[in-house]
C-alpha cells in the first residue's frame, strides 16, 4: 500500500521542525504543508480540532498532534535509525529532559529575551540555571543521544539553534561559551548534522519575524 505522510507545519516553529528533523533522519518521504497560523486551513482544523495547532502529522489519513508525541510515533512506526534507546531507563531520561525543555526552558528563555526590563537580570539567572542542568546532562557525550542524534537532541533544537537566534534578535546573552562550553559544542555539532542543517529556518528571516512579533527585546541597543 502506498504510504501517505503529510506534515502540517510552520516554517519558523521549532516544534514543526522537530518533526521534519526526525523524518529526515529516518529518510522518510513526506508532503509538507505550510500553515498560516493567522488563517488556519480547514484541513488543520479537521486534523487537530482540540488544539488547532501545528505540527500535525497525518499518516495514511490518521492524525497525530503534539511534537513530542509525534516523535515517539515516528520512532515506533519507522524502526530504522532509532531516536530512542532500547533501554527503559535511558528512554525515561530522554523523555524527562525533553519535558523539562518544553515546560521550563522555553518560557524562561523568552522572559530573558523579551521580558520586562526590571526583571531582566533575574530572568537571565533563571534561564542560566536551567541551561546549567542541560550542560551537566550532556557530560562528555557528543549528542544527548550518545553517538547519534536522538529524541532529546531533536527536542533540544530550541537550545541548539533557536536560542542563538533569539539572542541575536533581542540582544540578550544566554548561551555563552564561558558558562556553557559543552552546550555550545553540542549546538555546533547538532546544526552540522545534514538532516538537521537542511531543516533550519533561515536566520535573517527568523530574526526579522521575531523582532516584528515580539519587539527588539529587553537588551537591544
Amino acid at each position: 500500500m502506498a504510504e501517505e505522510i503529510l506534515l502540517f507545519g510552520a516554517w519558523g516553529s521549532p516544534f514543526s521542525r522537530r518533526v521534519e528533523m526526525a523524518l529526515k533522519l529516518k529518510g522518510i518521504e513526506y508532503k509538507y504543508i505550510e500553515e498560516d497560523i493567522t488563517n488556519k486551513s480547514p484541513s488543520l482544523l479537521k486534523y487537530n480540532p482540540v488544539h488547532k495547532k501545528i505540527p500535525v502529522l497525518v499518516h495514511n489519513g490518521k492524525p497525530v498532534a503534539e511534537s513530542l508525541v509525534i516523535l515517539e510515533y515516528i520512532d515506533e512506526t519507522w524502526k530504522d535509525s532509532p531516536i530512542l534507546s532500547k533501554d527503559p531507563y535511558e528512554r525515561a531520561n530522554a523523555r524527562f529532559w525533553a519535558k523539562f525543555i518544553d515546560e521550563k526552558c522555553l518560557s524562561a528563555i523568552f522572559k530573558a529575551c523579551w521580558g520586562e526590563e526590571k526583571e531582566h537580570e533575574k530572568a537571565v539567572e533563571e534561564a542560566s540555571e536551567l541551561l546549567q542542568f542541560l550542560e551537566n546532562e550532556l557530560k562528555e557525550k557528543r549528542y544527548f543521544g550518545g553517538e547519534t542524534v536522538g529524541l532529546l537532541d531533536i527536542a533540544a533544537n530550541i537550545i541548539g539553534y533557536w536560542l542563538g537566534v533569539f539572542e541575536e534578535a533581542s540582544g540578550a546573552e544566554l548561551l555563552t561559551r564561558e558558562k556553557f562550553p559543552k552546550l555550545c559544542n553540542w549546538a555546533n555539532e547538532f546544526v552540522s548534522v545534514s538532516a538537521i542543517k537542511e531543516n533550519l529556518p533561515p536566520r535573517d528571516k527568523l530574526i526579522a519575524y521575531l523582532r516584528n512579533r515580539f519587539g527588539v527585546g529587553t537588551t537591544s541597543k
Binding site: V50, E66, A92, F133
Partner: protein
C-alpha cells in the same frame, strides 16, 4: 533482586497514578511518604531538578515526572499492558495524557476562586469536560480502549478528586445528567478492583481539600 521504591505524597493525584500502574501490574514496591514542607535528603538526591514527587526508584535509579514514570513502568514490566500496541492508538493515549496535564490549571481554577471568577472558571472546566468526553473518550469504554490504560490513570483525577474539589468549593461542575458517557467511565473506573483497593480515604480527602482551599483563598486576599 529488584528493589522498587516510590516517593509520594498522600493526596496527590500524580502519586496515585504511579501507585495504580504498579498495582495493576502487580509490581512489589516500597512506598515512602514524603513531606513537601520538609523534603527528605532522599528526595533532593533523587529529584534535584524539580524536588517534587512522585519519584520512582528502581534498583537505585531514579525516575521523576509521573508521565515519564508511567511509560517506564509500562516498558520495564510489559505484562498487563497499559498502552495499546498500535502506534496510532498509543499516540492518541499520549496526546490525551498531555492534554489533561496541560489543562490542570483550568481543572483547578474553580476550586481556587470565588464569585464571578469562580463562575467563569466553572464554565471553562465544563467546556473542558465536554471535549474530554466527546473527543477523548468518544465511544470507547476506557480512554485506553477496551481496558484500563495509562490515559485512564491520568484521567483518574476526575472520578477521585473532582467531586471532592466540587464539594470543597461549593460548586457543581458535573450535574447528574451531564456528560453521560463520562459518568459511565467514572463508574467503570471506580469499580476496577485494583483502583478500588487503592483510593485515598474520601473523608480525609474532603477535609484536606476544604482546609487547603481556606488557606489558599486567605493567602490571596492578604
Amino acid at each position: 533482586m529488584e528493589e522498587v521504591k516510590l516517593l509520594g505524597v498522600w493526596p496527590s493525584p500524580y502519586s496515585y497514578r504511579v501507585i495504580w500502574a504498579l498495582e495493576l501490574k502487580g509490581v512489589k514496591y516500597e512506598y515512602v511518604k514524603e513531606d513537601l514542607a520538609n523534603k527528605s535528603d532522599l528526595l533532593l538526591r533523587y529529584n534535584p531538578v524539580h524536588q517534587k514527587v512522585p519519584v520512582l526508584v528502581h534498583n537505585d535509579k531514579p525516575i521523576a515526572e509521573s508521565t515519564v514514570i508511567l511509560e517506564y513502568i509500562e516498558e520495564t514490566w510489559p505484562h498487563n499492558p497499559l498502552l495499546p500496541t498500535d502506534p496510532h492508538e498509543r499516540a492518541l493515549a499520549r496526546f490525551w495524557i498531555k492534554f489533561l496535564d496541560d489543562k490542570s490549571p483550568t481543572l483547578l481554577r474553580f476550586y481556587l476562586t470565588v464569585g464571578e471568577e469562580q463562575e467563569k472558571a466553572t464554565k471553562e472546566v465544563r467546556e473542558l469536560l465536554k471535549i474530554i468526553e466527546e473527543q477523548g473518550l468518544g465511544e470507547k469504554k476506557y480512554f485506553g480502549g477496551d481496558k484500563i490504560g495509562l490515559a485512564d490513570l491520568v484521567f483518574g483525577f476526575i472520578p477521585v478528586w473532582l467531586g471532592v474539589l466540587e464539594e470543597s468549593a461549593g460548586v457543581k461542575v458535573m450535574k447528574p445528567d451531564d456528560f453521560p458517557r463520562l459518568q459511565v467511565w467514572i463508574e467503570n473506573f471506580r469499580e476496577n478492583p485494583v483502583i478500588k483497593a487503592n483510593l485515598p480515604d474520601p473523608h480525609e480527602l474532603l477535609a484536606h481539600s476544604k482546609q487547603k482551599r481556606e488557606v489558599l483563598l486567605a493567602s490571596k486576599i492578604a
